[in-house]
């Protein structure tokens, strides 16, 4: 019986510590969340965020037209909690990403391996860019399985 209690307690703890990161600030939500999920800083390391903002005039084919003041403001926020500096358990898994695509991170790929393009299509999506289609609480930083 005691073992069962300990096991249940462990299960609760590990569930609570699942895939949760901090919510983002209002400025970041507005600038980046207008077109897609405002991916929390924890999902890319500093170098990747730096490159992504520096290349804002060709952001996956689009010019974001951000002022340099705004770009610097976004960088400061992203760097403060990037995957390589955050102590968050989920963030650590994203610290080794080389490029600027969160969806190419090995851990991301592993976690989404059962979702093929057919499933995305069923949801009316062309990419993994709108996390909250499946993770309803993504905007609050909660990516536990739904």
């Amino acid at each position: 019986m005691k073992k069962l209690v300990i096991l249940s307690a462990l299960a609760v703890v590990s569930f609570a510590g699942g895939h949760k990161v901090e919510p983002v600030n209002a400025a970041y939500q507005k600038e980046c969340g207008s077109c897609h999920t405002a991916y929390q800083p924890e999902f890319l390391p500093r170098n990747s965020w730096n490159r992504l903002i520096n290349e804002q005039n060709n952001h996956f084919g689009e010019d974001l037209a951000l002022s340099s003041a705004k770009a610097n403001e976004l960088k400061a926020f992203l760097f403060s909690r990037s995957a390589d500096v955050s102590t968050n358990k989920t963030a650590r898994r994203f610290a080794s990403t080389q490029g600027i695509k969160i969806s190419e991170n090995p851990y991301f790929v592993k976690e989404h391996r059962r979702i093929g393009s057919a499933e995305l299509k069923k949801q009316g999506l062309k990419s993994f860019a709108n996390c909250s289609s499946c993770h309803k609480l993504a905007d609050q930083g909660n990516y536990d399985e739904q």
Binding site: G33, S34, C35, H36, T37, G61, E62, D63, L64, A65, L66, S67, K70, Q123, G124, L125, K126, S127, A129, N130, S133
Partner: protein
């Protein structure tokens, strides 16, 4: 009577404050348009409407217009076709946040003209589109 006067004054000030940044941007665009084309006499919501609905080819050679994301009726919510993200209505009559922030207007005009037309809009084109939106 005095109360009504004050109430009217407050409403007037609020309306003015809401459109001050819009008016400032339109005045500057108007100056630019005049310097670029001496025959320019003012912005036109009809020309703006045409620009808004004219179908172009996007970077993947697919048909695109402003209405692709913002809908044919801009009082409705729009949707980003790639990510599925919902876009709040563009028409100021149903979304009082629209056309109130100059930096936002300039950023989105530049971004969206490039998406749809593959280039930045001219001062006249930007003013025409704003004129069209502001009347909705």
């Amino acid at each position: 009577m005095k109360k009504i006067f004050i109430a009217t004054l407050i409403v007037t000030i609020t309306l003015f404050a809401k459109s001050a940044e819009y008016d400032g941007l339109m005045a500057d665009l108007s100056k630019q348009a005049k310097s670029q084309s001496p025959s320019f006499v003012g912005f036109s919501k009809e020309r703006g409407e045409k620009l808004f609905f004219a179908v172009q080819k996007d970077k993947n050679n697919q048909p695109i217009s402003c209405a692709t994301c913002h809908q044919n009726d801009i009082r409705q919510k729009g949707k980003n076709p790639t990510t599925g993200k919902i876009i709040e209505p563009l028409a100021p009559s149903v979304n009082n946040m629209r056309l109130t922030d100059r930096a936002e207007m300039e950023k989105w005009l530049k971004r969206n003209f490039k998406q749809v037309y593959g280039r930045e809009g001219t001062a006249m084109e930007k003013g025409d589109v704003l004129e069209f939106i502001s009347n909705k």
